[in-house]
């Protein structure tokens, strides 16, 4: 397209008082922009009309709005991204509201921002969305509570589903149980498991195809175009997205010798109790008699540094349920539950209360320290410190039930067998659960188009698993819908750009294939990256990683940011006006800088902020560009990294940090102080720290003196 740029400058909200608009216009003129408008209230109906008319008439197809932050008034300046390139230059929050009015340094800042905005547009092209992945069928892996619900709800919304179950029948763990937890008010009674009707529904729905006794040999491709090969001649199936609901396995009780498992026949697991209850015979394995005293050991292998560190979330409720099995079998049976903390959240507290009323005895103790030994007359002797009594107690019981925890089914088996360069499994977060790391985005995984549901994601009840299946199905549907339109999924939902590679110049260094947090690239045998655009989340971390600078987007490229940096005016050394480039994450740091303006806090006028999709997209050449131009310092604001990382692209800011460490070594060798580069982790609400950080950095730069490359 031929660019017709219009630059629209707003003098409202104090911008006009802070900045000389005539001088600002001449900046745009110098770059060759012919349509330059200034208005005292661009977002008002009159001002907006000017812009809209220009766009409507076709005289302008690139709009540069020099006004407030792009975070506000977006509804006024919403132009079709397929027709119009829109750029927001933030003269309000980032200049007028945080710098003294009418000052030459303030003016220089505004001029730099306008220049950079125009260049950003000049280096952009209209998007050509990738619309080759059109398959909308869903694959659901696992036919338990979560998987069945995912399949049902997707089918009810009109989507075709392929449901793969490794066992001969649908139902998963739930099918092996006697009864389930109370689901209905007043939450007192355990209920029959309603599974056959669900299976019936699935079998009745035409758009669900069930593959029983089936496992996955491999999955290749990408969202909208996954090819799933089933084992045992199950054929190849094309699907658009995947719900992984493979469920859980019980913790291996043979590791619980200290609680007498395998030592004494009457020490059994909660899984065994379900099996026994289902056949209607809760008897001691040793002699087949109905037990008169039964004890439960909670957290058997959970919340235990020697075993599973986490809480399996459901075992307290399960033991309450099983206590009632014994009471139902024989009212006179004594049941004792040894627990660390009774965890019956939400309305399940009512169930706890109900079981107390049945006369079940609860003993608070560190259950990992319970000792189990042989008692009299074939009984088991259980000794524990009763924290409620403050003294140890010893009881003889006929049967001891270990409330063992849950482990994700993907712990030892990738199940999906993905043909991804980064491995066959969905990356796990912790303890093998491929859960989301994000509080706000519970379905985030590191493999686009693959969503997890149920206990494979985290320990949860059956009810939660079902709801989780529904949620994952929504995400899977959303993925195929967006993908078929060539749009990105979360967090850059709707983004029409995707990376293109100038592959002839690739040196097969594999950095992109290794560093992409989402496994977008496969490799051919030589190590050349094979991009799968629909796996891409558009973070541009690959762009930052590439030493050959061959990766770019239509509206985000190395050349673009490099040119913006180069367009900044760098005063001569004698002027004693340093320049600092701020490369900042657009998700958190950019709004934080807006907040600085909103709070009318001030910071040194030497900084020029450039928002990036992610700090991980920083290419080292930008640093070199900046330093060689005479820029004195570079500050990077990225999201928090480490275990509790806040980076929306998993590792972006951490990768940037690693790259900076490397470049600092290079700088030291060039006798250019590495202190000229600083990376700060900034949360969105850390705005009040920003002026202080910049002040400190400025004094550090003063100490170091001007960049010796200035003027070269």
């Amino acid at each position: 397209m031929d660019q017709n740029i219009g630059v629209y400058m707003c003098s409202g909200c104090g911008i006009g008082e802070a900045i000389d608009f005539d001088a600002l216009s001449s900046v745009a003129e110098e770059i060759g922009v012919s349509r330059i408008v200034s208005h005292e209230c661009l977002c008002g109906s009159e001002g907006a009309k000017i812009v809209k008319d220009d766009v409507a008439s076709g005289s302008v197809n690139c709009v540069v709005l020099c006004a407030c932050s792009g975070r506000v008034k977006s509804e006024v300046f919403a132009f079709d991204p397929m027709q119009t390139i829109t750029e927001r230059v933030n003269l309000r929050e980032h200049v007028a509201w945080c710098q003294p009015a009418g000052n030459e340094d303030t003016q220089a800042m505004a001029e730099d921002y306008v220049r950079m905005g125009i260049i950003r547009v000049q280096k952009s092209t209209l998007p050509t969305p990738y619309q080759e992945a059109l398959e909308k069928t869903l694959l659901v892996v696992g036919g338990g509570a979560a998987g069945m619900q995912a399949a049902l709800d997707a089918a009810k919304a009109g989507y075709s589903v392929k449901l793969v179950e490794k066992e001969a029948e649908l139902g998963g763990q739930m099918a092996k149980w006697h009864k389930c937890l109370p689901l209905h008010p007043p939450y007192h009674d355990i209920e029959e498991i309603q599974i056959s009707s669900t299976i019936q529904d699935i079998e009745n729905l035409q758009n669900i195809e069930v593959f029983k006794n089936s496992t996955i040999q491999k999955i290749s491709g990408a969202p909208g175009m996954f090819d799933v090969v089933l084992n045992n001649g199950g054929g190849t199936h094309r699907v658009g997205s995947i719900v992984l609901a493979a469920g859980w396995t019980p913790y291996d009780a043979s590791k619980l010798q200290h609680l007498g498992f395998e030592k004494f026949p009457d020490v059994v697991t909660n899984v065994k109790v379900e099996e026994m209850a289902k056949v209607g015979s809760l008897t001691c394995p040793s002699d087949g008699k109905v037990p008169s005293v039964v004890a439960f050991v909670q957290c058997a292998g959970s919340r235990d540094p020697e075993h599973l560190q986490y809480c399996s979330a459901v075992c307290c409720r399960v033991s309450l349920k099983q206590a009632l099995y014994f009471k139902e079998q024989n009212e006179e049976t004594k049941v004792v539950i040894f627990y660390k903390d009774m965890r019956t959240p939400e309305q399940a507290e009512e169930f706890y209360k109900k079981v107390q009323k049945e006369g079940v005895i609860f003993v608070k103790t560190d259950t990992s320290k319970i000792s189990v030994s042989e008692g009299s007359e074939m009984k088991l002797s259980v000794e524990a410190m009763d924290e409620l009594l403050g003294e140890p107690i010893q009881m003889e019981v006929d049967m001891l039930v270990l409330a063992t925890g849950m482990q994700p089914a993907v712990l030892d088996d990738p199940i999906l067998n993905l043909e991804y360069r980064q491995g066959p499994a969905l990356p796990a977060l912790k303890y093998g659960f491929p859960d989301s790391h994000f509080v706000c985005f519970p379905y985030e995984t590191r493999r686009t188009g693959i969503y997890t549901a149920g206990c494979v994601r985290q320990p949860m009840t059956c009810t939660r698993s079902k709801s989780d299946g529904t949620g994952a199905a929504l995400k899977a549907i959303q993925c195929v819908e967006l993908t078929s339109q060539g749009k990105a999924v979360h967090p850059r939902a709707g983004d029409l750009s995707y990376p293109s590679l100038f592959i002839q110049r690739c040196t097969q260094c594999k950095r992109c294939t290794e560093e992409c947090p989402f496994g977008m690239y496969n490799e051919d045998i030589k190590g050349t990256p094979l991009p799968h655009p629909t796996r891409c989340r558009r973070c541009a971390i690959c762009m930052g990683s590439c030493p050959e600078r061959i990766i770019s987007f239509n509206n985000y490229s190395i050349d673009m940011i490099g040119s913006m940096i180069k367009s900044i005016s760098v005063p001569e050394e004698y002027e004693e006006k340093p320049r600092i480039i701020g490369l900042i994450c657009e998700n958190d740091a950019f709004p934080a800088v807006d907040m600085v303006g909103l709070n009318k806090l001030q910071y040194p006028p030497w900084v020029r902020f450039i928002p990036l999709r992610c700090l991980g997209s920083i290419n080292l050449v930008w640093i070199a560009d900046a330093l060689s131009k005479g820029v004195d310092g570079i500050v990077l604001f990225g999201c928090k990294f480490g275990d509790d990382y806040q980076c929306h692209f998993i590792q972006g800011s951490e990768l940037a940090d690693t790259r900076m460490t490397k470049i600092k070594e290079t700088l030291d060798r060039l006798v250019l102080e590495s202190d000229r580069i600083r990376l700060e982790q900034i949360s969105i609400d850390d705005y009040y720290r920003i002026p202080q950080i910049l002040e400190e950095f400025t004094s550090k730069l003063e100490e170091l003196g001007p960049n010796p490359y200035k003027g070269f």
Binding site: S74, D153, A154, T470
Partner: protein
């Protein structure tokens, strides 16, 4: 999904409602949100940090607001409420009233009105712990990013003064409440939760002693944009707090108050213990609990906080809070069960970990949904009105959002033809 599809109405613009809305809209549905407050975000906009990552809620809100701004399929009304619902799944008519903001879309949030405004009103976002100008931005990250005129000043000279100060004709003092009908195919009910009224637990001293605060208030005391600028100060005298007691199950797991467990309070207090520990090096936090309920991987967070030797976790249900009038200090008393002794701890601030009541405990839509004795909606929207988040059960944010995502699909099944 096409134009013939019906809209999905999301009632409640808190984090559950927003999530349901954006997830449905990004799947292709048309969505309209009705929110009672003048801003979207609900309760989480009042939180300082989320457990277990200790990350700011504004981060996720910012992303979600961007998703709303970028998506023409989502519209919303703030200061709005549902008056009545009629019709059936696939064809509901919902009467909605939008109360006047007295500020129109011309507002640029330049702040000129607030500069001239002298009247102050209790700051709701800070649970009334401070005041705000009667022409105000609800909070710094508020979306929509527009000022509000408190109805208190309407009809006064003050309002006229504000109006005259606005350079953009954004203040409309004649704005009236508007009532209209929305025709929608499905409804997601996500009206969230309210903190339990702590003054009902007389022996814990809330309302009698200024230094007894609720957990939701404590979030504001820790927030950089809260009434104390993020410093944890005693409300009575502004002295920096060095010792804080957290009283768990303040109203929850109690037949005299809320019989159910509010699910999130243990983790919230563990989190809040880090607030004080992080701010004041020689501070101490005491958490008094019945059972510590840190489910699943949240156990890690519990373990982490427990490792701080200045955080004491004591198995005790606090029976008495009293005040030393002279020092303003508070004494918490109870039985220390594990130690076999008595709790008699003097602290600067007592935080009551108040339970959650469903929004539907107060306002129940008049049709189709069934409730339990506590006011929680039972079922998962077998009809066309689909509950999401804390109206179903007390949930932490991640669970609410999981639930809201599921609700989006249930709504799509009803409203969108394919």
């Amino acid at each position: 999904m096409g134009d013939e599809d019906q809209k999905i109405l999301v009632v409640g613009g808190g984090i559950s409602g927003i999530t349901a809305a954006v997830e449905a809209a990004e799947t292709g549905a048309n969505v309209v949100i009705v929110e009672r407050n003048p801003f979207l975000g609900g309760r989480v906009a009042q939180l300082n940090q989320y457990f277990p990552k200790l990350c700011p809620p504004t981060c996720g809100l910012e992303i979600n607001f961007r998703r709303i701004k970028n998506n023409p399929k989502i519209s919303f009304y703030t200061q709005a409420e549902v008056l009545s619902i009629s019709g059936k799944p696939g064809a509901y008519s919902v009467s909605v009233r939008v109360n006047p903001r007295f500020v129109n879309d011309n507002c640029t949030a330049c702040g000129k009105c607030a500069e001239v405004c002298e009247t102050t009103v209790p700051n709701e976002i800070n649970y009334g712990m401070d005041t705000v100008k009667a022409a105000y931005l609800p909070h710094q990250m508020a979306y929509p990013f527009k000022y509000v005129l408190a109805s208190d000043i309407i009809g006064t000279d003050e309002a006229i003064k504000c109006s005259e100060a606005c350079p953009y004709n954004a203040i409309d003092l004649d704005m009236k409440a508007e009532t209209f009908d929305l025709e929608v195919g499905a409804i997601i009910w996500a009206t969230g939760w309210d903190p339990y009224e702590a003054e009902k637990i007389g022996y814990l001293g809330f309302g009698r002693f200024p230094n007894v605060v609720t957990s939701v208030m404590f979030e504001r005391l820790a927030a950089a944009n809260g009434p104390t600028g993020g410093k944890i100060l005693r409300p009575s005298d502004g002295k920096e707090a060095k010792t804080v007691a957290f009283v768990q199950c303040a109203g929850s797991r109690d037949e005299n108050h809320l019989a159910y467990c509010s699910g999130v309070c243990c983790l919230a207090s563990l989190k809040q213990a880090t607030y004080i520990r992080e701010r004041v090096p020689d501070s101490k936090a005491f958490i008094y609990y019945i059972d510590v309920r840190a489910m699943g991987k949240y156990e890690d967070f519990y373990t982490k906080v427990q490792q701080d030797e200045n955080v004491s976790l004591v198995k005790s249900k606090i029976a008495r809070v009293s005040e030393d009038k002279e020092s303003g200090g508070l004494m918490v008393e109870g039985e220390d069960i594990s130690a076999g002794s008595r709790v008699r701890q003097v602290v600067d601030i007592v935080v009551l970990a108040v339970g959650m009541r469903p929004g539907t405990a107060k306002i129940k839509p008049d049709m189709e949904m069934a409730y339990d004795d506590f006011g929680f909606v039972t079922g998962s929207g077998e009809s066309g009105i689909i509950p999401a988040g804390c109206v179903k059960a007390p949930m932490e944010v991640a669970a609410s959002l999981q639930d809201a995502t599921a609700a989006a699909l249930k709504a799509i099944q009803v409203a969108v033809r394919r």
